[in-house]
């Protein structure tokens, strides 16, 4: 009896030391998923599949970086899915007209940045709750994209550089993954180490206190919306390149995937709390679940059910962990 309790207590200590890391639940979940899936389907670890997963993650992660900043600042953007589709059409259209990838990319960024600016202005100037404001923007963009083009904007320019953005490789690594990695790194440093990042947390945690301390709270939020917009532009460009067309029907449900990943990563909806590392883990978990279901040849309808369960489960485990930490 007594010999049993001693190591048990020790284990308890080492476990609680581990749980100090706030992302422990997700890391654990990720490990369980990877091991579980690869046991059942060895192809999971094939380079092809790894690349496919990473490329999918890239698209979500790029936008999730901005969304994390927004949520930290206490706002949210539901229009990213609709904006993604629209931006892709703009990118392709402008590239077709100008035969310049640079101009196409700039047009995409300008467009999506403008959408971000619009959202930001509506939220900060008209003081509309961002959830409802960006639902409205989503409707406007969904309607707008069909006014702009009814059909997919085809690639008429045939510029290799354009195709490379989404489908190219540097060595064995797909270019979108590199872009996402760079954006993630920059975003991580920004949120964690810069004045701007620290201010975003302050604005999300207590808007009035931030304003009284001389922070331009509205400007900061606006900037977070614009950054999110610009990142949607990057993602839209990649998507257009991958699809080899600007697709007005793309991006349906994309906003929910992004937000789900960010929340799964431990970012609070109430503002003031969250990390990009968590977001990265959240994206990985969701996309690996998605991929695993196909690899395992399960019924694809589970691609809705399982993420739903995972999000609830992970959030609950996080609550349990924090409660234990507090003891």
């Amino acid at each position: 009896m007594t010999t049993d309790t001693l190591p048990a207590r020790k284990r308890g200590v080492s476990l609680s030391a581990l749980t100090d890391n706030s992302q422990i639940v997700l890391i654990g979940l990720l490990a369980v998923l990877c091991i579980g899936i690869s046991l059942a389907a060895p192809q999971f670890y094939s380079p092809d599949n790894a690349i496919a997963i990473l490329r999918q993650c890239a698209l979500v992660l790029i936008v999730a970086v901005g969304m994390t900043m927004l949520l930290v600042a206490g706002e949210v953007d539901l229009s990213v899915g609709a904006s993604l589709a629209f931006t892709g059409c703009v990118a392709m259209d402008v590239t077709n007209r100008t035969h310049s990838v640079v101009l196409g990319a700039l047009a995409a960024l300008a467009f999506s940045g403008a959408v971000g600016l619009f959202n930001g202005l509506v939220v900060t100037r008209l003081k509309i709750n961002s959830l409802i404001a960006t639902i409205a923007t989503m409707m406007i963009l969904q309607g707008g994209v069909y006014l702009y083009t009814r059909e997919a904007v085809q690639n008429h320019h045939l510029l290799d550089a354009f195709t490379a953005i989404g489908a190219g490789y540097v060595g064995p690594v797909p270019i979108p993954v590199i872009i996402a990695a760079v954006i993630f790194a920059v975003g991580y440093v920004t949120l964690r180490f810069t004045l701007f990042g620290r201010y975003l947390y302050a604005v999300g945690a207590n808007l009035r206190a931030a304003r009284l301390s001389g922070l331009r709270a509205e400007r900061l939020k606006l900037l977070a919306f614009v950054i999110t917009g610009l990142l949607v532009g990057v993602a839209g460009l990649i998507l257009a390149s991958l699809m080899n067309a600007g697709q007005p029907t793309a991006g349906r449900g994309f906003e929910l995937t992004v937000i789900a990943a960010v929340i799964l990563g431990g970012t609070s909806l109430a503002g003031g709390r969250g990390t990009l590392f968590g977001t990265l883990l959240g994206v990985l978990v969701l996309k690996i679940v998605d991929n695993g279901i196909i690899i395992l040849r399960w019924n694809q309808d589970l691609q809705m059910v399982v993420p739903g369960l995972v999000i609830i489960l992970a959030t609950w485990l996080d609550i349990v962990r924090r409660r234990n930490d507090a003891r």
Binding site: Y146, A152, H156, A167, M243, A245, F254, I294, I295
Partner: protein
């Protein structure tokens, strides 16, 4: 003998922002203009409840005939009942519904089937007689399931040991199709035929193939619908994109209007009017369409010459068994 013309026909479309239905509407409006009346369109935007509401609104506005493309076939049964109570003639487009009087439809199964037969021939000739199919499908709708089933049955007539390696749900949209195809190809890339239930699906599958760095040399891509410019672009530029199952949406609209006029005049109308489809191989699309810049024009003579079967080989009713 001169037919009476209705004053106004209302069309409740499933999803007006889709190019397929855009062309259906175009066919309707063109035909109605020829005959000298008006077609008004309300969009259900994939919402079954909104569809009922739109039809209700039309009935209270007093249109003479209703044309409906159901969001879901079972979901318009009560609507047909109410229309019958109010003596409102209804033409359905798409799929048969319990209690309907007249349907204008393509045969989804047959469309897939004939494309499958052509794909089988191509496989015998160019792919060493092997057919390993990745179906970028959409299980949500019975019509698209029929196309996939038809395609597999058709291809097997030529290549009896053809197999479906992947049966995917691409959601009918390009980015989702891309995503699931990429995962499926990573799991098992031993595929030489990609079939898409619409052009977005086949193109999504093809893009995933290209993104995986695979050569298109021993690949055949088959698309369905042929409603926009996307497939023309693909056939021109992608070496593997060889077959497109054309469904002539304009013709569907044209036929639906004719049926509406007949119903309005209380003429005898067959309960199932089939609108023709046909596989187009390689450059074959040029026979039916001409393209000038971004404008596509239908060649009515050629399309009207395509013979439609009297009856579909299989219908949604066969799926339920």
């Amino acid at each position: 003998f001169a037919e009476k013309m209705p004053k106004k026909v209302g069309y409740v479309v499933n999803y007006a922002t889709h190019e397929w239905y855009q062309n259906v509407i175009k066919g309707m409006k063109d035909r109605a203009a020829q005959l000298g009346f008006e077609v008004e369109v309300k969009d259900a935007n994939l919402d079954a409840a909104k569809q009922i509401a739109a039809a209700e609104d039309f009935m209270s506005q007093g249109v003479d005939v209703l044309i409906i493309t159901p969001v879901n076939e079972d979901a318009v049964v009560p609507l047909l009942r109410r229309a019958k109570q109010e003596n409102m003639p209804i033409v359905l487009e798409g799929n048969p519904v319990k209690g309907m009087t007249t349907l204008v439809a393509i045969c989804d199964y047959d469309t897939g089937y004939h494309a499958g037969v052509e794909a089988g021939k191509y496989a015998k000739e160019h792919l060493g007689g092997k057919a390993k199919v990745m179906n970028v499908g959409l299980p949500l709708l019975s019509a698209t399931v029929l196309r996939s089933n038809g395609f597999m049955d058709g291809i097997k007539t030529e290549v009896p040991d053809a197999v479906m390696v992947h049966d995917l749900d691409g959601g009918g949209n390009p980015d989702r199709s891309f995503e699931v195809s990429a995962a499926a190809l990573a799991q098992n890339g031993d595929v030489n035929v990609i079939y898409g239930i619409n052009d977005s699906s086949s193109l999504g599958g093809l893009q995933a193939w290209k993104a995986a760095g695979k050569s298109q040399d021993d690949l055949l891509v088959v698309g369905t619908g042929g409603e926009g410019l996307a497939f023309i672009n693909a056939i021109e530029k992608e070496p593997s994109y060889k077959i497109e199952a054309a469904m002539f949406p304009e013709k569907v609209g044209f036929t639906a209007i004719d049926a509406a006029v007949k119903l309005y005049n209380k003429e005898e109308v067959p309960s199932w009017i089939v609108s023709p489809t046909t596989p187009m191989l390689g450059d074959g699309w040029k026979k039916y369409y001409s393209v000038d810049g971004n404008v596509r024009t239908i060649n009515w003579d050629a399309v009207n010459a395509v013979k439609a079967p009297d009856k579909c080989m299989k219908t949604a009713a066969d799926l339920k068994k």
